[in-house]
Amino acid sequence: MTEFVRLFFNSLQTGSIFALAALGIVLIFRTSRTTNFAQGLIGTFNAYVAAYFLLRFGWNVWLVALIAIFTAFLTGVIIDTLIIRPAAKVNPISKQIVTLGIIMILVGLIPFFFGVQPLLFPSFIPSRFGIDILGATLRYNTVFIIVLSVALMGAMFWFIQYTRWGLATRVTASNETTSKLMGVPTKSVTMVSWATAAILGTLAALFVAPSVSVQPNMMLNVQLSAFFAGTLGGFSTFIGPVVGAYIIAFARNFTSFYISDIWGNVLVYSSILVFLYFKPYGLFGKKPTKKV
C-alpha cells in the first residue's frame, strides 16, 4: 500500500511535468504547424540560466526561477521572430528540421555560456518538508509542483476559452490564413505561443532539475513522453495531451515498478500503438475531413 501511495503521488508529479511540456508542444503545433523538437532544449537552456545565477551569485531558488521564466519568454520571442516567422512558407517537414537547427544552436550555446559540467539545482521546497500518508512521504515540493501545474493549466484553458486572446489563438490554430484575413493578429498570437511554450518547457525543466541535474540531456525523457502524450490525447485539442500526459506517467511508473523498467516502457509504448490503430487521432482527436 505504501508503495502504491508513493507511486501514485510520484506519477501525479511526473504527469504534471509531462503535461506542461506536452501543452507547449501542442500550442506550437497548432499555431505554427510544426512539431517542435527543440521544446526540451529551450527548457534546458533556461534551466541553465537559473542554475547559473543560483550557483554564481547564490541567489534564492525562487528568484532565479523568475529570471529563467523571463529569459524563457525572451527565447520564445527571439526564436519566433528570427527563425520561425521567416520560415512561415517552408513546408511542414522542413520546418521540423528548422527546430532541429534550433536544438543544435542551443547545444552549442550551452557550453559556451555555462561550461560542460552538469549543474545542481535544488527543489523549490526542500525535500525534508513533507507529511506521511499511509506510510509514504508526500513531499511538499511534490504538492507544489502538482498544484502549480494544474493551476497554470487551468488558467491557460480558461484564458484560451474565454478571452479575446484565447479566441484569437483558437482561430489561428484552426485556420491561419482566414484568421489573418479577418484581422486576427496571427503574428502576435504565434509569438506569444512560442513565448508561452518556452515558459512551460522551462517550468518542466526546473521541476525535473533536482532529480537529473541541469545538463543537456535532462529533458530527453520528458520531451519524448510529451510527444507520446500529445499523440495519445490527440493534437487537435488542448485538453487531450494533458490527459495523455497523466496516463503515460501513471502507466510508465506503475509498469516499471511492478514489471520492469524496460519491459514496462516497451509494454506501454506497444499498447499505445495498438490503441492508436483503433483511435488514429488520439483520445480526444477528430478526423479532419477532406473533400474530393
Binding site: V98, I103, G108, P111, S270, L276
Partner: protein, 349 residues
C-alpha cells in the same frame, strides 16, 4: 572565354543528363578517390572515417527520401533500423553465420517490421504516424540496450569474411581503404536501384499516392500496396546502411540509435534535396561532413551553433534542398551566356 564557359556548362549539363549508369559510376569513382588521398597521407584516418560515415548515412537517407520525398510519409524511427542493421549483422556473425547470410537475415527481419509500420500507416496519418514511428524506434532502442544478445554496451564484430574467402579487417589502413571502396560500391548500387525505382511505375505510383490520394485510387493505385512498398524500401535502405556500418566500423554500439540520429537523417533529405539522389549525398555531406571536417576544426565545441545556423539558412533560402544551388548556377551560366550573346549581337548591329 565565352566558349570555355559554354563548353563547361554543356559538360556539367551533359554529366547530369547523360546515361544513368555512367553518371553514378563516375560519381562512385570520384568518392573512391578519397582513400587514395589517405594512402598518400593527404587526409588522416579520422577524415576517412568521416567520409565513410557520409557514405553509409547516404544509403540510409536515400531510403528516407523515398518515404519523405516521394511518398509523403515520415519516419522518426530510422535510427532504430540502422541499429537493427548493425546489431543484427553483429549478432548473426557472432552466431557463426557467414556474412552474406547474416546481412540478408537482418534485412529480412527489419523489412518485416517495416511492413508492419506500412500496415499501420493505413489508419494513422500525419503527426500521429510520425510519433508512432518514434514509438517503434524507442521500443527497438530499449530492446537493444537491455537484451543480452546485443552485448550491453556494444557488439564486437571484428574482421568480415566476404563470400567465404577473403577477410577484411578495419585495422590495417590498407584493408580499411578496401572496406571503404566496398561501401562506396554498395552506395552506388543503391543509388542506381533508387534511380530506376523512382523513374518507374512504382515511383510514379508513390508520387501519385502522396500528391493526390483520390486520383491515385481512381487510377488503380492501391494505397496499401504502395504504403507497404514505401516503408519496406525505406527500412531496407536504412538496414543496409546499418550493415555497412557493421562492415566498416566492425563493432556496433547499442545506445547510439536515438531520435537525434533519425532527425539528422531527415535533415539530410530536407537540406540536400527532396526527391534528389545526388542531393541526398549532398545533404549527408552538409549535415555530417561540413561540421566534422570543417567547422569542428575551426570552432571546436561551439561548432554546433554554426551547424544549426547552416541548416536553418539552407532551409530558408533553398526550401527544395541545397541541390538547387547547382540548378541556380546552371541558370546563372545560361543567363550570362544569353546576356553576352545579346551584347555581341548589339555591337555587330
Amino acid at each position: 572565354m565565352l566558349t570555355i564557359l559554354d563548353n563547361f556548362t554543356k559538360r556539367v549539363h551533359g554529366f547530369f543528363q547523360g546515361h544513368v549508369y555512367r553518371n553514378y559510376l563516375l560519381f562512385g569513382a570520384a568518392v573512391m578517390m578519397i582513400p587514395l588521398m589517405h594512402n598518400f597521407g593527404i587526409i588522416g584516418s579520422g577524415t576517412l572515417g568521416i567520409w565513410a560515415y557520409i557514405v553509409i548515412i547516404t544509403v540510409v537517407a536515400l531510403g528516407l527520401n523515398i518515404l519523405l520525398g516521394f511518398s509523403g510519409l515520415i519516419s522518426l524511427g530510422t535510427a532504430g533500423f540502422v541499429g537493427a542493421g548493425a546489431l543484427g549483422t553483429g549478432v548473426f556473425l557472432n552466431m557463426g553465420l557467414p556474412f552474406e547470410l547474416a546481412a540478408l537475415l537482418t534485412i529480412l527481419i527489419a523489412a518485416a517490421i517495416g511492413a508492419l509500420i506500412g500496415f499501420f500507416s493505413l489508419r494513422v496519418e500525419g503527426i500521429y504516424l510520425a510519433i508512432a514511428t518514434l514509438f517503434v524506434g524507442e521500443i527497438l532502442r530499449q530492446i537493444y540496450t537491455q537484451i543480452e544478445i546485443f552485448g550491453g554496451q556494444m557488439i564486437n564484430i571484428g574482421a568480415i569474411r566476404f563470400l567465404g574467402f577473403f577477410t577484411l579487417n578495419a585495422n590495417p589502413p590498407s584493408e580499411r581503404r578496401f572496406l571503404f571502396v566496398i561501401i562506396v560500391a554498395v552506395m552506388v548500387l543503391m543509388m542506381i536501384a533508387m534511380h530506376h525505382l523512382v523513374h518507374s511505375k512504382t515511383g510514379r505510383a508513390l508520387l501519385a499516392m502522396s500528391r493526390s490520394q483520390a486520383a491515385a485510387q481512381a487510377m488503380g493505385v492501391s494505397i496499401l500496396s504502395y504504403r507497404l512498398i514505401a516503408f519496406v524500401t525505406a527500412t531496407v535502405f536504412a538496414t543496409v546502411g546499418g550493415v555497412l556500418y557493421a562492415v566498416y566500423i566492425q563493432n556496433a554500439p547499442t545506445t547510439a540509435w536515438t531520435l537525434d540520429l533519425s532527425l539528422f537523417v531527415i535533415a539530410m533529405v530536407v537540406v540536400g534535396g527532396f526527391k534528389s539522389i545526388y542531393g541526398t549525398f549532398l545533404g549527408a555531406f552538409i549535415i555530417h561532413g561540413i561540421p566534422n571536417l570543417i567547422l569542428a576544426e575551426l570552432f571546436g565545441d561551439v561548432s554546433y551553433i554554426f551547424s544549426g545556423v547552416l541548416i536553418i539558412v539552407v532551409i530558408l533560402f533553398y526550401p527544395y534542398g541545397a541541390i538547387q544551388v547547382f540548378y541556380d548556377v546552371r541558370k546563372w551560366f545560361h543567363k550570362g551566356r544569353l546576356k553576352l550573346t545579346t551584347k555581341r549581337s548589339d555591337r555587330s548591329a
